[in-house]
Symmetry: C2
Subunit: 421 residues, 2 copies
């Protein structure tokens, strides 16, 4: 009979409205297999919690609290932007991981994140082979950027997509009513560092000619200022107002971002911000049109109140599948969503090898962007539409969503050594 091992679960990178739904899927499924999996320990602040032996004992949480993770945004255990370096050159980190995992009898590693995390997870999956420590590492996909390869979509994306599409439709009605005497141009800045998936989702807000959004600025299409201003002016002339959705990753033909704040995050990515203002000033200065702009920032990826039901379901499903695949003996894989049909949207979960997932970015295909570069095509719409389906409202109390706060009881430390990250 197989010996019972504990599991380690951690959240990594930017959190989403549904990353806790994946956590819920992992923990609830593990609890249903107590004969095979012992306890699920969650890293406090992601992988850092493993390195510093700072873990939360999820077995101390009630079933109701774990169930409530399904409707609670943010990262309930804390996330981290921390990328493990190469196994060959930074052996100490991996030795520490093994030390902690061994001390707590951890045989399963569930890592919930995006592309960078898939890379970390892949490195951990190699510990059996390269450092003779038996661990099964499964990557639980998550990223609002929707840029993981193989999987049809990434949990977290559908809810941002829905938020952006709904907000664009709503704000457009506002601007349309103000245009006669006031605001003529409205700009909404959305996330998406290198891929325009989130910006594309705004395209779902309107379909018919003249309907907002009138212009989407994708990172994939080099920004042509002259052409852009011409298009804005024509839109205002024809429809009295113009709604523009701009990706934070929109860039000039030379590849530099329209808004380059110059700061960098822990992964070495440039921290962006301010593209909305850049576009707004352009419109104000060169066309002399009154504008307003909104920057959705964290609101878009934490908006659990308007989460997509499909997204919530998929987020839970990849968490559940991760545990089931681990129990089936798999290692170095990611439960990927496979689309079987568009309408009705049917999908299933299949294991994708992490070697094929890590460090690859899925960009928007050019055929998803309209010929003039400012809109989405019917093919893109067919792809996106199912992902924002259904409303999965959280429960409310006194007019506010009831989000759970876990007890977060620490697993007693067994090691006497500190590890500085």
């Amino acid at each position: 009979m197989r010996r019972i091992k504990n599991a380690f679960y951690a959240q990594s990178g930017g959190v989403t409205a549904v990353i806790n739904a994946s956590a819920c899927g992992v923990i609830e499924t593990a609890r249903r297999h107590r004969a095979l999996i012992g306890k699920v320990y969650a890293g406090r602040n992601g992988i850092i919690g493993a390195l510093t032996e700072d873990m939360i004992d999820t077995s101390r949480e009630t079933a109701a609290a774990i169930a409530a993770l399904r409707h609670t945004p943010g990262g309930a255990f804390g996330s981290a932007r921390y990328k493990l370096k190469d196994l060959e050159t930074h052996r100490a980190e991996y030795e520490r991981l093994i030390e902690v995992f061994r001390a707590h009898d951890i045989g399963y590693f569930f890592y919930n994140g995006g592309g960078d995390s898939a890379d970390t997870c892949y490195k951990v999956s190699q510990l059996s082979k390269k450092m003779n420590f038996p661990v099964q590492a499964i990557h639980v996909p998550k990223t609002v950027d929707n840029d993981l390869p193989i999987t049809d979509t990434c949990p977290g994306f559908g809810s941002v997509a829905k938020y952006v599409a709904v907000s664009t439709r709503e704000a457009a009605l506002d601007v349309a009513s103000m245009a006669k005497t006031s605001t003529k141009v409205f700009i909404l800045e959305v996330m998406g560092r290198h891929a325009g998936w989130i910006a594309a989702a705004a395209g779902l807000a309107g379909k018919d000619a003249g309907e907002a959004p009138h212009i989407i600025l994708f990172p994939e299409i080099p920004f042509d200022k002259k052409q852009f201003l011409k298009h804005v002016a024509a839109t205002v002339r024809d429809h009295e107002y113009c709604v523009i959705v701009v990706s934070e990753g929109a860039a000039w033909p030379d590849g530099s971002f329209l808004a380059d704040a110059g700061r960098t995050d822990a992964f070495g990515h440039k921290q962006l911000g301010g593209v909305a203002q850049t576009i707004a000033q352009m419109v104000g200065d060169e066309l002399n049109l009154k504008y307003h702009y909104a920057i959705a920032d964290y609101l878009q990826r934490s908006a659990r109140h308007i989460a997509s039901a499909v997204d919530v379901e998929q987020a839970y499903a990849v968490g559940r599948a991760a545990v089931e695949m681990a129990l089936a003996g798999q290692n170095a894989i990611m439960p990927a969503i496979v689309r079987k049909s568009d309408r009705p949207y049917r999908w299933k979960i299949e294991a994708a090898p992490l070697a094929r997932v890590a460090n690859r970015e899925k960009k928007m295909p050019r055929r998803f962007i309209s010929k003039n570069g400012y809109g989405i095509t019917a093919a893109c719409r067919r792809y996106l539409e199912p992902l924002i389906r259904g409303e999965d409202y959280p429960p409310y109390r006194d007019g506010l969503p009831k989000y759970v706060k876990l007890k977060g009881i620490s697993v007693p430390k067994k090691l006497n050594t500190d590890f500085v990250v």
Copy 2:
């Protein structure tokens, strides 16, 4: 028997998530009194529609379309920032109004707006007396700024309040999970030019010590940079992260706005924007903390998807009451909401004389702001809490809210004269 007269209805100023619910209340109530009120003509783009004889015949809309106004944000007939000038010095405008009203047999004037519109409505209400044209003018209150006097609250505010409180709670969970290795300070910029009501609503997101928002910057409290930065640093030290909600009207001790874009709108108000960035740079430069900021802008006031049920109900109720009061022979009044109790929230509608409403701004009382100036008091909470109660979700199709688009059939013109506004 009283002769049947038609009614004129118009939307004015910034629109809200529920201004159409008031339109719905006006039109549905008028339809229930066909023996007394003929048709309801809506000004296309507000009062400008009256001056240019450009009106929409609401009797051409189906009952279902009118009912759907209740859940549709924005201004379905178009709004306008256009303030009628003094009757004494700008007689031509009033003569034109009378010419149009006479041509279309209009005896009721329902004007749906905020403080500036109350002033316009009051001027129109004086036409009987001063220019011998019989018209009953009723002001239907609306403003997200919540700054109309007498009424307990202004329809439109409760839904923005709910949006801001929900968004703050959600974004706070996001930042809290990122704080260990990434963003430590999150700033949300909200509306509220001169009054901090909307910013105050963010305070509902948290209650216990340490819960977000940690700092609210009100227009009512002169900004003290040194004190502010000290408070941010202390919050990050104690709680690892800091959520700041800042009103667009936040100002320096000399009264100048933290963000002064220098532009002005049609009412002569300064158009603001950029205070979030000002605060963010301060935090980055002086405290060297990683920040993110969001600017809700139009998203907050058009977010019908998360409207407050109480707000929707009140918006409809003031529309209905306006018609009923007109039929009862009243003039120069505004249906005001009168609070009868906090918990349970009980309220009724009473007529308030427009002379006491126009051109008065209701500021946040100092006793609603905590002693240190960064939070709300229990009294403020008691006032605000009932206003965000209940969720009034719109219907959805394919993952997006089904908002109505009216046919908008024009009333045939009867005058051959043009009027340039």
